[in-house]
Symmetry: C2
Subunit: 189 residues, 2 copies
């Protein structure tokens, strides 16, 4: 729980009562490797915070290939905004790549936080904007680079992730085949 609180306080201040209130609403859950936090086609009704573990957001393109949109590591919020906010079916899966410990808030509890804690929405907005900006900043530069450079950038961006997840997920995130990525790894060593 302290990880979550520390994370929130980086974006704004809460007094002790407010922190208690947040803690009261938080539920801790475990999701095992390969299980889903939320699924395409279903409406996402939870906001999560990853205490430990790695997840990925992925979908299937029109050739049936599984594409990893991005990874979400520990100490980050995980929520399908579009689906959660508008109560519409999600278009992507959020899947645990390793066993994960999460703190989750139900939609109802999340609403209560919004209604009760003055400034909660401002904090949340800051967190969301920051996360979205990061995603853009990480994705955009990849398109214009060759496969090796993409992988090198990936290592920079996700140094704590690169050795804990299957090569095939990284390949699909980078838009290259896993055999190519395997060869790239060989060349780099």
């Amino acid at each position: 729980m302290k990880e979550l609180i520390a994370y929130i306080l980086r974006f704004g201040n809460l007094n002790p009562q407010q922190i208690d209130f947040v803690a009261e609403k938080a539920k801790e859950i475990v999701i095992h490797k390969d299980e889903y936090f939320s699924e395409a086609g279903k409406t996402s009704r939870q906001v999560g915070f990853i205490v430990e573990g790695i997840t990925r957001v992925c979908y299937y393109n029109n050739k049936g290939e599984e594409i990893t949109k991005y990874f979400i590591e520990e100490n980050n919020l995980v929520v399908d905004l579009e689906s959660f906010d508008n109560e519409i079916p999600s278009t992507a899966y959020v899947q645990a790549i390793t066993d994960c410990r999460l703190i989750v808030f139900s939609k109802k509890d999340w609403q209560e936080l919004l209604n009760t804690i003055v400034g909660w929405d401002a904090i949340v907005h800051k967190i969301i904007s920051k996360a979205l900006m990061l995603k853009v900043e990480r994705r955009s530069p990849l398109v214009s680079e060759d496969a090796t450079t993409r992988y090198l950038k990936f290592i920079e961006i996700y140094p704590t992730v690169v050795n804990r997840i299957p090569l095939s997920y990284i390949a699909s995130y980078l838009g290259i085949t896993q055999s190519s990525l395997s060869r790239i790894r060989k060349n780099i060593r």
Copy 2:
């Protein structure tokens, strides 16, 4: 001005006084083709709204190649958030690709809007989040597609843009060379 107001009202409500107040602070300016709205290395001190025209956000990578990160068309806000919010030098250029009519707000006026209009920050946050989500949704799928598919997706995403801007900018956005894009265009016809 009515375009801007209509745009804002899609994200939240303002009463007539508030609308007047916004209009009072707004300045209309023109930026000619190839001129910059904001520049890398300089702190961005304006929020803009494009009434007419197309801009792009671009930067130079470490090989000195000019990379187009994305395009911003009419009826969208244009602001370098990172730079504007934190008053730090920007890392990218915002350049007019066609002659542009913009409505701009100085940082000082923008602050006044925030301080005066209850709910202004909520509206702005919604606008920003929506725009950032769009950027992610547009960028991510490109990485995993071949050059032709990327271009076809580009046409879908920016149908009003594709024929008004140089091919080289599109190529740099898609991460392919302009000769390749030229050949792709030929094949598609």
